[in-house]
Amino acid sequence: MTMLSVRGLSISFGGVQALNDVSFDVEAGEIIGIIGPNGAGKTTLLNTISGLNRATAGQVSLDGVPITGLRPTQIATLGLGRTFQMSQLFPGMTVLENVMSGLHRKMRAGAFAAAFRTRSMREEEQATAEKAWEALRYVGMERFAHHPGTALSFGQQRVIEIARTLIGEPKLVLLDEPAVGLSVNRVAELDRLLRRIRDEKGVTLIMIEHVVRLVMGVCDRVLVLNYGVKIAEGKPEQIVADPQVIEAYLGSEFDAKRLAS
């Protein structure tokens, strides 16, 4: 069953072709890695899928539903979750409140119910808080529930973002560099967490990642972008042997070293 289908996706910003005719499919239950040198268009690809950027050409469908041109809110409601490269936790909320806001679209209470604190509103609020605690326990962050989100380390913030996304029961989650800045041990924990999310929750994952160990360990397939073009797609071990990929990375020495490590 195809969870995400991307066909001929292109986008340009002021004459710069940031994505050029990118196509790929993601099966339900897969974990897909997206790699590529800096500026290859990886984040642009995720932004375009989630509706933050408007594609110049091409189609995207999520679980069989065409989502091209929909607004990000609508796409989220159809079951697309998203975490960001720079933490996007809401600084004005505690960790628990942040995670609770992830259930927003599944909740019903309107302004009147909220203002009058109706019984159903209170019950819903109670249930949401319980689910949020559960989600925090799932990712091992419950001890921070009442801390302001932005008081935590970047790595912890990203894990809480994952919990905030998961609580809304998405079908597919796009992760933008979840491991950036994590220590080796933490990367291993994240590796286990991502597998559990796939295995226990049945969530399909697509992640941009620079930490090659994580990509190799956890991803079923890897997609390589360079200058907005998909240059390779395949199993991790095929990818590292692909001459085109090595070529692309040699363009930037720093990343070549990373790939080799």
Partner: protein
């Protein structure tokens, strides 16, 4: 839900004290307390819009005026009874307030502020010059509250009506910020992109925040008309806007308690300033500057230090909000430039 004992007791005591004011106070004190309650309504409504939903709009004084004019004119021109005219004025202010959401979809920060300020000045101009409807610059006398079968005078009557309405509106705001609505407001304020990716509709929640604050301001206006017994454009000018803005900053942005506190302090301060006569502007200006310099998160931070004091959605620092850099398109982590988006982190 957590228990919110400290702030609840505080509010309870305050409204209990306000309930006995008519029995013990002279008419001047009664009027000031009544005015104070209307300012509480205004500040709470404005804080929902600016402090919680993060929409830096400067048109609240206009909504206050529209509520007062609406309620007054419905009585004077159409002969509607007060208890129909007052909600009419409040709803009119709510509708006009909601229209301002359209600039808010395209603008933020200072641009939203100044375009809504221009809108407020424009509405004042309409009040001044649309003589056939608004009676122009001179204004018009609005009927006092008449509860005639009941043995309650107009001053006491409007006082207790304001008291009831204020309690209800503070309680509504109190509940609202403890719900998914409050969280959605803060999400829109703190990160539009993350909010959208969680399925929070920006248009709906911005419009809701504008509608609520318009309704609050309109309600305050509808109570102000019979309290003063007169409606004229001067009451809803720039100075009124400044007072309202000052209340939420002095009290604490993004805090219902802060709005209550700010309103009380400002009303007290404005009365106190009369003593300074010729230097009152200098004193007022200096106090404003002193507040933003020395207590930038508002007076409510003093209360938040009390043990047992808890308030939701309050791990908030205005330094992060409307910071000049935040309105820079280029600094958005998901900015239009693909290079920036991919490389911003390294």
């Amino acid at each position: 839900m957590r228990l919110l004992l400290g702030s609840r007791q505080f509010l309870f005591l305050m409204f209990a004290a306000l309930a006995v004011v008519p029995a013990v106070a002279n008419p001047y004190i009664l009027y000031i307390c009544n005015l104070g309650m209307l300012y509480v309504i205004l500040a709470v409504g404005l804080n929902i819009l600016v402090g919680y939903a993060g929409q830096f709009a400067l048109a609240n004084a206009a909504m206050f005026g529209i509520g007062a004019y609406g309620a007054g004119l419905l009585q004077v021109k159409l002969g509607a009874p007060y208890f129909l005219a007052a909600p009419g004025g409040a709803i009119l202010a709510m509708l006009i307030g909601t229209v301002i959401v359209f600039p808010a979809l395209r603008l933020s920060g200072i641009y939203l502020g100044l375009s809504t300020l221009a809108f407020a000045m424009f509405s004042q101009w309409v009040l001044l010059h649309w003589n056939s409807v608004t009676f122009g610059g001179g204004g018009f006398p609005a009927p006092h509250l008449d509860l005639s079968p009941l043995p309650i005078g107009p001053d006491t009557g409007i006082y207790f009506l304001s008291w009831l309405v204020t309690i209800a509106l503070v309680a509504f705001a109190w509940s609202l910020v403890r719900s998914r609505i409050g969280r959605a407001f803060v999400a829109v304020r703190d990160g539009e992109i993350a909010a959208q990716s969680l399925g929070i509709d920006l248009l709906r929640y911005k419009a809701l925040a504008f509608a609520i604050s318009g309704f609050y301001a309109g309600t305050a206006g509808a109570l102000y008309a019979p309290l003063l017994g007169y409606v004229s454009p001067e009451g809803f000018d720039l100075f009124q806007m400044i007072i309202q803005k000052s209340m939420i900053v002095v009290g604490g942005m993004g805090s219902v308690m802060g709005s209550v506190l700010g309103a009380a302090v400002m009303v007290f301060l404005l009365e106190l300033l009369r003593a300074f006569k010729s230097t009152q502007e200098i004193v007022f200006g200096s106090i404003l500057i002193a507040f933003v310099m020395f207590r930038p998160r508002g007076l409510v931070t003093l209360l938040q230090r009390l043990p047992g004091w808890e308030e939701p959605l309050s791990s908030f620092d205005p330094r992060r909000l409307f910071a000049p850099a935040a309105s820079e398109p280029a600094s958005s982590p998901l900015g239009a430039s693909p290079e920036l988006a991919d490389e911003g982190r390294r």
